[in-house]
Amino acid sequence: MSLWEYANPVKFLRLSERVLPTMWVLAISSTFVGLVWGFFFTPDDIRQGSTVKIIYIHVPAALMAINAWFMMLVASLIWLIRRHHVSALAAKAAAPVGVVMTLIALITGAIWGQPMWGTWWVWDPRLTSFLILFLFYLGYIALWEAIEDSDTAADLTAVLCMVGSVFAVLSRYAVNFWNQGLHQGTSIPVATGERSVADVFFVPLLISMVGFGLLFLALTLYRTGTEIRMRRIKALLAREGRN
Protein backbone atom coordinates (compact mmCIF):
# COMPACT_ATOMS: atom_id res chain seq x y z
CA MET A 1 0.00 0.00 0.00
CA SER A 2 1.77 3.11 -1.14
CA LEU A 3 0.83 6.70 -1.70
CA TRP A 4 1.31 6.30 -5.45
CA GLU A 5 -1.71 4.05 -5.63
CA TYR A 6 -3.80 7.19 -5.58
CA ALA A 7 -2.20 8.28 -8.83
CA ASN A 8 -4.83 5.97 -10.29
CA PRO A 9 -7.82 8.24 -10.93
CA VAL A 10 -10.34 5.58 -9.96
CA LYS A 11 -8.69 4.96 -6.62
CA PHE A 12 -8.20 8.66 -6.10
CA LEU A 13 -11.87 9.35 -6.74
CA ARG A 14 -12.94 6.52 -4.45
CA LEU A 15 -10.74 7.80 -1.63
CA SER A 16 -11.74 11.43 -2.08
CA GLU A 17 -15.41 10.48 -2.16
CA ARG A 18 -14.93 8.62 1.10
CA VAL A 19 -13.08 11.40 2.94
CA LEU A 20 -14.78 14.45 1.42
CA PRO A 21 -18.00 14.44 3.49
CA THR A 22 -16.07 14.23 6.75
CA MET A 23 -13.67 16.86 5.51
CA TRP A 24 -16.44 19.27 4.51
CA VAL A 25 -18.05 18.91 7.93
CA LEU A 26 -14.75 19.41 9.74
CA ALA A 27 -13.70 22.31 7.53
CA ILE A 28 -16.98 24.19 7.73
CA SER A 29 -17.48 23.58 11.44
CA SER A 30 -13.94 24.59 12.42
CA THR A 31 -14.02 27.67 10.19
CA PHE A 32 -17.40 28.54 11.68
CA VAL A 33 -16.26 27.97 15.28
CA GLY A 34 -13.02 29.89 14.71
CA LEU A 35 -14.73 32.86 13.07
CA VAL A 36 -17.70 33.07 15.45
CA TRP A 37 -15.47 32.68 18.48
CA GLY A 38 -13.09 35.24 17.06
CA PHE A 39 -15.77 37.76 16.11
CA PHE A 40 -18.08 37.56 19.10
CA PHE A 41 -16.30 35.99 22.04
CA THR A 42 -12.95 37.72 22.15
CA PRO A 43 -12.34 41.07 23.81
CA ASP A 44 -11.50 44.15 21.72
CA ASP A 45 -7.85 45.04 21.55
CA ILE A 46 -6.85 48.08 23.64
CA ARG A 47 -5.40 50.01 20.73
CA GLN A 48 -7.02 48.46 17.68
CA GLY A 49 -10.57 48.16 18.99
CA SER A 50 -12.74 45.70 17.14
CA THR A 51 -10.71 45.96 13.90
CA VAL A 52 -8.36 43.36 15.34
CA LYS A 53 -10.97 40.73 14.56
CA ILE A 54 -10.24 40.77 10.87
CA ILE A 55 -7.13 38.79 11.78
CA TYR A 56 -9.29 35.63 11.85
CA ILE A 57 -9.83 35.89 8.13
CA HIS A 58 -6.70 37.72 7.07
CA VAL A 59 -4.01 35.52 8.60
CA PRO A 60 -5.49 32.11 7.64
CA ALA A 61 -6.19 33.32 4.10
CA ALA A 62 -2.64 34.63 3.70
CA LEU A 63 -1.28 31.39 5.11
CA MET A 64 -3.25 29.31 2.66
CA ALA A 65 -2.42 31.61 -0.26
CA ILE A 66 1.25 30.75 0.16
CA ASN A 67 0.69 27.09 0.98
CA ALA A 68 -1.56 26.65 -2.05
CA TRP A 69 1.26 27.78 -4.31
CA PHE A 70 3.61 25.45 -2.45
CA MET A 71 1.20 22.58 -2.94
CA MET A 72 1.00 23.43 -6.65
CA LEU A 73 4.78 23.36 -6.80
CA VAL A 74 4.93 19.88 -5.24
CA ALA A 75 2.14 18.61 -7.48
CA SER A 76 3.89 20.06 -10.56
CA LEU A 77 7.13 18.35 -9.60
CA ILE A 78 5.32 15.04 -9.18
CA TRP A 79 3.77 15.51 -12.61
CA LEU A 80 7.10 16.32 -14.24
CA ILE A 81 8.92 13.44 -12.59
CA ARG A 82 6.35 10.65 -12.43
CA ARG A 83 3.76 11.78 -15.01
CA HIS A 84 0.72 11.17 -12.81
CA HIS A 85 -2.21 12.97 -14.39
CA VAL A 86 -4.05 13.33 -11.09
CA SER A 87 -1.14 15.36 -9.78
CA ALA A 88 -1.23 17.81 -12.70
CA LEU A 89 -4.99 18.16 -12.33
CA ALA A 90 -4.64 18.77 -8.59
CA ALA A 91 -2.26 21.63 -9.31
CA LYS A 92 -4.73 23.04 -11.82
CA ALA A 93 -7.57 22.67 -9.32
CA ALA A 94 -5.67 24.37 -6.51
CA ALA A 95 -4.80 27.53 -8.45
CA PRO A 96 -8.22 29.26 -8.39
CA VAL A 97 -8.57 28.46 -4.68
CA GLY A 98 -5.15 29.97 -4.09
CA VAL A 99 -5.94 33.10 -6.07
CA VAL A 100 -9.13 33.65 -4.05
CA MET A 101 -7.20 33.24 -0.80
CA THR A 102 -4.65 35.80 -2.02
CA LEU A 103 -7.41 38.20 -2.93
CA ILE A 104 -9.10 37.73 0.47
CA ALA A 105 -5.82 38.43 2.24
CA LEU A 106 -5.22 41.56 0.14
CA ILE A 107 -8.74 42.91 0.57
CA THR A 108 -9.07 42.22 4.29
CA GLY A 109 -5.63 43.74 4.74
CA ALA A 110 -6.75 46.89 2.94
CA ILE A 111 -9.93 47.09 5.01
CA TRP A 112 -7.91 46.76 8.21
CA GLY A 113 -5.21 49.14 6.98
CA GLN A 114 -7.64 51.97 6.30
CA PRO A 115 -8.51 52.74 9.97
CA MET A 116 -5.22 51.48 11.43
CA TRP A 117 -2.55 52.81 9.07
CA GLY A 118 -4.76 55.53 7.64
CA THR A 119 -4.40 54.16 4.13
CA TRP A 120 -5.88 51.40 2.00
CA TRP A 121 -2.60 50.56 0.39
CA VAL A 122 1.08 51.16 0.99
CA TRP A 123 3.97 49.81 -1.05
CA ASP A 124 5.11 47.71 1.84
CA PRO A 125 7.24 44.61 1.06
CA ARG A 126 4.66 42.14 2.34
CA LEU A 127 1.77 43.79 0.54
CA THR A 128 3.79 44.17 -2.64
CA SER A 129 5.01 40.59 -2.68
CA PHE A 130 1.45 39.39 -2.15
CA LEU A 131 0.34 41.45 -5.11
CA ILE A 132 3.12 39.87 -7.15
CA LEU A 133 2.01 36.42 -5.97
CA PHE A 134 -1.48 37.33 -7.15
CA LEU A 135 -0.07 38.17 -10.60
CA PHE A 136 1.76 34.85 -10.69
CA TYR A 137 -1.49 33.03 -9.95
CA LEU A 138 -3.23 34.93 -12.75
CA GLY A 139 -0.48 34.09 -15.22
CA TYR A 140 -0.56 30.44 -14.19
CA ILE A 141 -4.33 30.16 -14.61
CA ALA A 142 -4.26 32.08 -17.89
CA LEU A 143 -1.65 29.71 -19.29
CA TRP A 144 -3.80 26.69 -18.37
CA GLU A 145 -6.74 28.29 -20.10
CA ALA A 146 -4.82 29.26 -23.22
CA ILE A 147 -3.51 25.85 -24.25
CA GLU A 148 -5.74 23.31 -25.94
CA ASP A 149 -3.77 20.12 -25.47
CA SER A 150 -4.01 19.11 -21.83
CA ASP A 151 -0.65 17.34 -21.54
CA THR A 152 1.17 20.27 -23.11
CA ALA A 153 -0.68 22.62 -20.78
CA ALA A 154 0.27 20.50 -17.76
CA ASP A 155 3.94 20.45 -18.78
CA LEU A 156 4.17 24.16 -19.49
CA THR A 157 2.34 25.25 -16.36
CA ALA A 158 4.45 22.90 -14.25
CA VAL A 159 7.64 24.53 -15.49
CA LEU A 160 6.08 27.97 -15.09
CA CYS A 161 5.17 27.07 -11.51
CA MET A 162 8.78 26.09 -10.74
CA VAL A 163 10.33 29.13 -12.39
CA GLY A 164 7.63 31.33 -10.85
CA SER A 165 8.40 29.98 -7.38
CA VAL A 166 12.05 30.98 -7.72
CA PHE A 167 11.10 34.43 -8.94
CA ALA A 168 8.39 34.85 -6.31
CA VAL A 169 10.93 34.18 -3.56
CA LEU A 170 13.40 36.47 -5.30
CA SER A 171 10.78 39.23 -5.53
CA ARG A 172 9.99 38.77 -1.86
CA TYR A 173 13.59 39.61 -0.93
CA ALA A 174 13.94 42.24 -3.62
CA VAL A 175 10.96 44.25 -2.38
CA ASN A 176 12.24 43.84 1.16
CA PHE A 177 15.40 45.56 0.05
CA TRP A 178 13.55 48.16 -1.99
CA ASN A 179 11.29 49.49 0.74
CA GLN A 180 11.16 49.02 4.46
CA GLY A 181 7.63 48.34 5.49
CA LEU A 182 4.72 49.14 7.68
CA HIS A 183 3.39 45.60 8.06
CA GLN A 184 4.03 43.99 11.42
CA GLY A 185 6.25 40.95 11.70
CA THR A 186 4.88 37.47 11.77
CA SER A 187 2.46 36.92 14.63
CA ILE A 188 3.37 33.31 15.24
CA PRO A 189 7.08 32.74 14.58
CA VAL A 190 7.16 28.94 14.55
CA ALA A 191 10.94 28.70 14.69
CA THR A 192 11.32 30.53 18.00
CA GLY A 193 8.17 29.09 19.54
CA GLU A 194 7.12 32.51 20.78
CA ARG A 195 4.20 34.55 19.65
CA SER A 196 3.05 38.11 19.78
CA VAL A 197 -0.65 37.25 19.96
CA ALA A 198 -2.25 36.77 23.38
CA ASP A 199 -3.92 33.43 24.20
CA VAL A 200 -7.48 34.80 24.02
CA PHE A 201 -6.90 35.74 20.41
CA PHE A 202 -4.61 32.87 19.59
CA VAL A 203 -6.92 29.90 20.21
CA PRO A 204 -9.71 31.02 17.85
CA LEU A 205 -7.06 32.10 15.34
CA LEU A 206 -5.55 28.63 15.43
CA ILE A 207 -8.97 27.06 14.95
CA SER A 208 -9.76 29.22 11.95
CA MET A 209 -6.31 28.52 10.51
CA VAL A 210 -7.06 24.80 10.74
CA GLY A 211 -10.50 25.51 9.25
CA PHE A 212 -9.07 27.41 6.27
CA GLY A 213 -6.52 24.67 5.72
CA LEU A 214 -9.20 21.98 5.67
CA LEU A 215 -11.39 24.15 3.50
CA PHE A 216 -8.56 24.48 1.00
CA LEU A 217 -7.98 20.72 1.02
CA ALA A 218 -11.66 19.95 0.61
CA LEU A 219 -12.09 22.45 -2.23
CA THR A 220 -8.98 21.20 -3.99
CA LEU A 221 -10.01 17.54 -3.68
CA TYR A 222 -13.47 18.37 -4.91
CA ARG A 223 -12.19 20.41 -7.85
CA THR A 224 -9.63 17.73 -8.72
CA GLY A 225 -12.50 15.23 -8.88
CA THR A 226 -14.35 17.58 -11.20
CA GLU A 227 -11.30 17.96 -13.43
CA ILE A 228 -10.88 14.17 -13.63
CA ARG A 229 -14.51 13.73 -14.60
CA MET A 230 -14.28 16.53 -17.17
CA ARG A 231 -11.30 14.81 -18.72
CA ARG A 232 -13.28 11.55 -18.81
CA ILE A 233 -16.21 13.22 -20.52
CA LYS A 234 -13.85 14.67 -23.09
CA ALA A 235 -12.36 11.24 -23.72
CA LEU A 236 -15.82 9.67 -24.02
CA LEU A 237 -16.98 12.35 -26.44
CA ALA A 238 -13.87 11.86 -28.52
CA ARG A 239 -14.55 8.12 -28.67
CA GLU A 240 -18.18 8.74 -29.63
CA GLY A 241 -17.08 11.04 -32.39
CA ARG A 242 -14.78 8.42 -33.88
CA ASN A 243 -17.43 5.71 -34.10
Binding site: L135, F136, G139, D155, G164
Partner: protein, 218 residues
Amino acid sequence: MKALLIRDIRLAVRAGGGFGLGLAFFLIVIVMVPFAVGADTELLSKIAPGVLWIGALLACLLSLDRLLALDFEDGTLDLLATAPLPFEAALSVKSLAHWITTGLPLVIAAPVLGVLMNLPTQCYGWLVLSLLLGTPALSVIGTFGAALTVGIKRGGLLLSLLVLPLYVPTLIFGAESARRGAVGADVSTPMLLLAGISAAAIALMPFASAAVLKVNLR
Protein backbone atom coordinates in the same frame (compact mmCIF):
# COMPACT_ATOMS: atom_id res chain seq x y z
CA MET B 1 26.70 28.79 -32.90
CA LYS B 2 28.37 31.73 -34.56
CA ALA B 3 26.47 31.07 -37.75
CA LEU B 4 23.19 30.99 -35.83
CA LEU B 5 24.04 34.24 -34.07
CA ILE B 6 24.92 35.98 -37.31
CA ARG B 7 21.79 34.61 -38.99
CA ASP B 8 19.53 35.85 -36.19
CA ILE B 9 21.10 39.29 -36.12
CA ARG B 10 20.85 39.59 -39.91
CA LEU B 11 17.22 38.56 -39.87
CA ALA B 12 16.46 41.09 -37.17
CA VAL B 13 18.32 43.95 -38.82
CA ARG B 14 16.99 43.48 -42.35
CA ALA B 15 13.70 44.89 -43.46
CA GLY B 16 10.67 43.48 -41.68
CA GLY B 17 12.76 42.18 -38.79
CA GLY B 18 11.44 44.77 -36.42
CA PHE B 19 14.87 46.12 -35.54
CA GLY B 20 14.55 49.70 -34.43
CA LEU B 21 10.93 49.15 -33.52
CA GLY B 22 11.89 48.63 -29.88
CA LEU B 23 14.08 51.73 -30.00
CA ALA B 24 11.29 53.82 -31.50
CA PHE B 25 8.92 52.52 -28.84
CA PHE B 26 11.41 53.41 -26.12
CA LEU B 27 11.69 56.92 -27.53
CA ILE B 28 7.94 57.36 -27.73
CA VAL B 29 7.33 56.14 -24.17
CA ILE B 30 9.88 58.60 -22.86
CA VAL B 31 8.36 61.42 -24.92
CA MET B 32 4.90 60.58 -23.57
CA VAL B 33 5.95 60.83 -19.93
CA PRO B 34 6.30 64.62 -19.70
CA PHE B 35 2.89 64.98 -21.36
CA ALA B 36 1.42 62.81 -18.63
CA VAL B 37 3.16 64.17 -15.54
CA GLY B 38 3.94 67.74 -16.63
CA ALA B 39 7.11 69.40 -17.86
CA ASP B 40 8.43 70.32 -14.42
CA THR B 41 12.18 69.67 -14.84
CA GLU B 42 12.77 68.94 -11.16
CA LEU B 43 10.07 66.29 -11.07
CA LEU B 44 11.29 64.82 -14.35
CA SER B 45 14.85 64.52 -13.16
CA LYS B 46 13.61 62.84 -10.01
CA ILE B 47 11.63 60.16 -11.81
CA ALA B 48 13.99 59.88 -14.81
CA PRO B 49 15.93 56.74 -13.74
CA GLY B 50 12.74 54.79 -13.04
CA VAL B 51 10.98 55.95 -16.20
CA LEU B 52 13.98 55.10 -18.37
CA TRP B 53 14.09 51.64 -16.82
CA ILE B 54 10.38 51.06 -17.35
CA GLY B 55 10.70 52.29 -20.94
CA ALA B 56 13.59 49.94 -21.65
CA LEU B 57 11.70 47.04 -20.04
CA LEU B 58 8.56 47.63 -22.09
CA ALA B 59 10.53 48.04 -25.30
CA CYS B 60 12.21 44.74 -24.55
CA LEU B 61 8.85 43.09 -23.84
CA LEU B 62 7.43 44.38 -27.11
CA SER B 63 10.02 42.58 -29.18
CA LEU B 64 9.64 39.22 -27.44
CA ASP B 65 6.80 37.74 -29.48
CA ARG B 66 8.93 37.98 -32.63
CA LEU B 67 11.80 36.23 -30.90
CA LEU B 68 10.67 32.65 -31.53
CA ALA B 69 7.35 32.90 -33.36
CA LEU B 70 8.74 33.19 -36.91
CA ASP B 71 11.23 30.39 -36.40
CA PHE B 72 8.46 28.29 -34.90
CA GLU B 73 6.22 28.80 -37.89
CA ASP B 74 8.74 28.02 -40.61
CA GLY B 75 10.19 25.01 -38.80
CA THR B 76 13.61 26.39 -37.98
CA LEU B 77 13.12 25.49 -34.34
CA ASP B 78 12.42 21.86 -35.24
CA LEU B 79 15.73 21.75 -37.06
CA LEU B 80 17.53 23.40 -34.16
CA ALA B 81 15.98 20.96 -31.72
CA THR B 82 17.32 18.00 -33.66
CA ALA B 83 20.68 19.60 -34.46
CA PRO B 84 23.87 18.31 -32.77
CA LEU B 85 24.14 21.65 -30.99
CA PRO B 86 22.45 21.40 -27.55
CA PHE B 87 19.06 23.08 -27.69
CA GLU B 88 19.89 25.07 -24.56
CA ALA B 89 22.94 26.52 -26.33
CA ALA B 90 20.88 27.39 -29.40
CA LEU B 91 18.40 29.23 -27.19
CA SER B 92 21.19 31.05 -25.36
CA VAL B 93 22.45 32.21 -28.74
CA LYS B 94 18.96 33.37 -29.70
CA SER B 95 18.73 35.30 -26.42
CA LEU B 96 22.12 36.82 -27.12
CA ALA B 97 20.98 37.86 -30.60
CA HIS B 98 17.86 39.38 -29.07
CA TRP B 99 19.99 41.27 -26.59
CA ILE B 100 22.34 42.57 -29.29
CA THR B 101 19.47 43.75 -31.48
CA THR B 102 17.21 45.06 -28.69
CA GLY B 103 18.96 45.40 -25.34
CA LEU B 104 22.20 46.93 -26.55
CA PRO B 105 20.56 49.67 -28.67
CA LEU B 106 18.39 50.54 -25.66
CA VAL B 107 21.48 50.87 -23.48
CA ILE B 108 23.11 53.12 -26.05
CA ALA B 109 19.98 55.22 -26.55
CA ALA B 110 19.27 55.61 -22.83
CA PRO B 111 21.72 58.49 -22.17
CA VAL B 112 20.32 60.45 -25.13
CA LEU B 113 16.81 60.05 -23.78
CA GLY B 114 18.20 60.87 -20.35
CA VAL B 115 18.91 64.38 -21.66
CA LEU B 116 15.22 64.72 -22.56
CA MET B 117 14.30 63.62 -19.05
CA ASN B 118 16.75 66.05 -17.44
CA LEU B 119 18.64 63.19 -15.83
CA PRO B 120 21.15 64.33 -13.16
CA THR B 121 24.69 64.43 -14.58
CA GLN B 122 26.26 61.98 -12.14
CA CYS B 123 23.59 59.40 -12.98
CA TYR B 124 24.46 58.77 -16.65
CA GLY B 125 27.25 56.31 -15.94
CA TRP B 126 25.22 54.38 -13.38
CA LEU B 127 22.15 54.26 -15.61
CA VAL B 128 24.12 52.86 -18.52
CA LEU B 129 25.92 50.38 -16.27
CA SER B 130 22.69 49.20 -14.64
CA LEU B 131 20.99 48.76 -18.01
CA LEU B 132 24.04 46.99 -19.35
CA LEU B 133 23.90 44.54 -16.45
CA GLY B 134 20.11 44.21 -16.38
CA THR B 135 19.04 43.94 -20.03
CA PRO B 136 20.69 40.51 -20.57
CA ALA B 137 18.49 39.15 -17.77
CA LEU B 138 15.46 40.72 -19.48
CA SER B 139 16.40 38.95 -22.72
CA VAL B 140 16.87 35.46 -21.24
CA ILE B 141 13.77 35.68 -19.04
CA GLY B 142 11.87 36.98 -22.05
CA THR B 143 13.08 34.02 -24.11
CA PHE B 144 11.51 31.75 -21.50
CA GLY B 145 8.22 33.63 -21.78
CA ALA B 146 8.35 33.49 -25.58
CA ALA B 147 9.06 29.76 -25.42
CA LEU B 148 6.05 29.23 -23.15
CA THR B 149 3.62 31.06 -25.41
CA VAL B 150 5.03 30.20 -28.82
CA GLY B 151 2.33 27.63 -29.61
CA ILE B 152 -0.52 29.95 -28.69
CA LYS B 153 -2.16 32.09 -31.33
CA ARG B 154 -2.30 35.74 -30.36
CA GLY B 155 -0.30 35.01 -27.20
CA GLY B 156 1.03 38.55 -26.95
CA LEU B 157 -1.06 39.64 -23.99
CA LEU B 158 -0.55 36.36 -22.20
CA LEU B 159 3.17 36.76 -22.77
CA SER B 160 3.13 40.13 -20.97
CA LEU B 161 1.13 38.68 -18.10
CA LEU B 162 3.62 35.86 -17.70
CA VAL B 163 6.84 37.77 -18.21
CA LEU B 164 6.24 41.03 -16.35
CA PRO B 165 6.05 39.45 -12.86
CA LEU B 166 9.30 37.65 -13.65
CA TYR B 167 10.88 41.02 -14.46
CA VAL B 168 10.14 42.43 -11.01
CA PRO B 169 13.44 41.63 -9.23
CA THR B 170 15.53 42.86 -12.18
CA LEU B 171 13.53 46.06 -12.39
CA ILE B 172 13.78 46.71 -8.65
CA PHE B 173 17.54 46.34 -8.48
CA GLY B 174 18.17 48.06 -11.80
CA ALA B 175 16.03 51.10 -11.09
CA GLU B 176 17.28 51.23 -7.51
CA SER B 177 20.93 51.40 -8.59
CA ALA B 178 20.14 54.10 -11.16
CA ARG B 179 18.15 56.02 -8.55
CA ARG B 180 20.94 55.77 -5.99
CA GLY B 181 23.37 56.92 -8.66
CA ALA B 182 21.15 59.95 -9.32
CA VAL B 183 21.18 61.08 -5.68
CA GLY B 184 24.86 60.22 -5.26
CA ALA B 185 24.35 57.35 -2.78
CA ASP B 186 26.31 54.11 -2.68
CA VAL B 187 25.22 51.91 -5.60
CA SER B 188 27.32 48.83 -4.96
CA THR B 189 24.67 46.67 -3.20
CA PRO B 190 21.85 46.89 -5.76
CA MET B 191 24.36 46.80 -8.61
CA LEU B 192 25.92 43.58 -7.31
CA LEU B 193 22.51 42.01 -6.75
CA LEU B 194 21.48 43.03 -10.27
CA ALA B 195 24.63 41.45 -11.68
CA GLY B 196 23.90 38.34 -9.62
CA ILE B 197 20.37 38.05 -10.97
CA SER B 198 21.63 38.52 -14.52
CA ALA B 199 24.35 35.91 -14.11
CA ALA B 200 21.96 33.39 -12.55
CA ALA B 201 19.29 34.02 -15.18
CA ILE B 202 21.78 33.65 -18.05
CA ALA B 203 23.05 30.40 -16.54
CA LEU B 204 19.72 28.78 -15.66
CA MET B 205 16.93 30.20 -17.79
CA PRO B 206 18.02 28.59 -21.09
CA PHE B 207 17.40 25.18 -19.51
CA ALA B 208 13.85 26.13 -18.57
CA SER B 209 13.29 27.69 -22.01
CA ALA B 210 14.60 24.61 -23.80
CA ALA B 211 12.41 22.33 -21.66
CA VAL B 212 9.18 24.21 -22.42
CA LEU B 213 10.06 24.73 -26.09
CA LYS B 214 10.63 20.98 -26.49
CA VAL B 215 7.14 20.44 -25.06
CA ASN B 216 5.76 22.96 -27.54
CA LEU B 217 7.51 21.29 -30.47
CA ARG B 218 6.11 17.84 -29.63
